[in-house]
């Protein structure tokens, strides 16, 4: 270990900073993704029909499906930038812990999805006539943990498929079956905040979500080095 | 015991037929692939 090498946390922060900076410079993309997610919400309403009651009931599901769809775009992008200019090879040559690259990118992707969720949520609230039954701040844990659930394995899979020509197709194909538990738990817990939680089930769903994150973030952190070294 | 489902042999035959067919077809496919990649 080189003495002057910064600690793991500082390396992670540097990677997050770099990724978010790249994202910030291309603001148009974030805007496009937000618009895409909102368009999906509109489409769900048209597909289901104008019954306010039904829409209200399933709103959490629509929001998460829209986020999930949009997330594949951020995720494919997160390694597209690196592979295009051969930047990933350069990044791997630096004395940076490979885990730092993974956790940095995964956290940056989580942050992006959280931002996206906060863009989409108010629109959904207007479209579906939503009101929070449990206090608005209760939305934060499902959104953050749910975003992490998509971004954690999603970042690893993006690296895995970075060199596949049909990445736009392969990433969702591989990722969607895996994140079913995260989707179920995120939708349920969000729905409980919106519709009220008389049975007190909120905490168990958040625990499911947190355990999912824990399992797949650690597994991804463990295997990421193998994936990028190849 | 009451409420026992009566009949339904056609479902049983479909399941056993599908099982044997799938296993046989996959085995044959392996032999065919071995033939074409000696």
């Amino acid at each position: 270990m080189i003495a002057s090498r910064p600690g793991l946390v500082r390396q992670i922060v540097a990677v997050i900073h770099k990724d978010l900076l790249v994202e910030w410079r291309g603001q148009a993309r974030l805007l496009a993704m937000g618009t895409y997610a909102v368009t999906l919400l509109l489409l769900f309403s048209f597909a289901v029909g104008p019954d306010t009651k039904t829409l209200q009931q399933h709103a959490a599901g629509y929001v998460w499906l829209a986020l999930l769809s949009a997330s594949t775009m951020t995720l494919t992008q997160s390694f597209r930038v690196e592979t295009e200019a051969g930047a990933l090879e350069a990044l791997l040559m630096l004395p940076v812990d490979h885990r730092a690259i993974y956790f940095g990118k995964a956290l940056a992707n989580t942050a992006l999805l959280v931002v996206l969720a906060f863009l989409v949520m108010p629109v959904a609230a207007i479209l579906f006539d939503l009101s929070a039954a449990e206090g608005l701040y209760w939305l934060l844990p499902p959104i953050v943990l749910g975003a992490a659930g998509l971004a954690g394995p999603g970042t690893l899979y993006a690296a895995l498929t970075a060199r596949v020509a049909a990445q736009q197709l392969m990433l969702p194909l591989l990722l969607f079956p895996l994140i079913v538990p995260a989707l179920v738990a995120a939708v349920k817990s969000t729905s409980l905040v919106l519709q009220g939680d008389p049975m007190g089930q909120m905490s168990s769903w958040l625990i499911v979500l947190a355990s999912f994150d824990l399992i797949f973030w650690s597994l991804s952190g463990l295997l990421f080095a193998k994936v990028v070294e190849e | 015991m009451t409420g026992m489902i009566q009949g339904g042999w056609e479902y049983v035959w479909v399941v056993y037929g599908a099982t044997w067919f799938t296993l046989a077809a996959y085995t044959v496919s392996l032999f065919v692939r071995e033939r074409s990649n000696p």
Partner: protein, 232 residues
Amino acid sequence: MKWENWVGLLGLALISVGHYQGLFVAPPEAMMGDVGRILYAHVPTAWVALVVYLVAFVAAVGSLGSGKRGWDALVESAVEVGVVLNLLLLFQGAVWAKPTWGVFWTWDPRLTTTAIMAVSFIGVLVLRAMLNRPAQRAVASAVYTIFAFVSVPVVYFSVKWWKTLHQPFSSPETVDSPMVTPLRVAAFGMLFLATFLIARRWRLAYAKLSREDEAPDLPPAAAAIRLEGGGA
């Protein structure tokens, strides 16, 4: 004759005996009547499909750890055999669900998990088909196989909590004793047959990977042409 052919024949014999007993000797099931006889085909498929996926998982760990092509070939063969059994399992389950539950599909945790398992592992096969560089393909499919396998219990429990439509149902522990013998015989038969299939498939995969390694920088089709031209 290669060893796996003997195992395959043994499997065939055991499955035949088990299915014969299940169909004609065992008594009808207490609730499901003759429809319950599907058990002797369905439950062994389920057990063996899981065992085969376990083999794929172990092979994936071995492949990541060692980088040897023998492990990679085992990942390919076990996943493919697993997917075949998995799809068969789904079909059997749907046909069984119709007379017992009245529908082909319910959101029962086992059924749902089986379906998600199928798409996950089909993903491994698709991914393998899309990657040309052997080393990269080996790592990618091993990593993805590990993820797909680990996610099976996670999916199962989350779906179980999400919705339990489950009706009292003959799970292995509650099966009556006259049913146990044919069930066991059929299950071991299935296991031996799966071993045979994996071994045969492994030889195919190993031969293909070896040929690729002899012509490393070319895509598979070009490598094949070069080998044919060289008379290898």
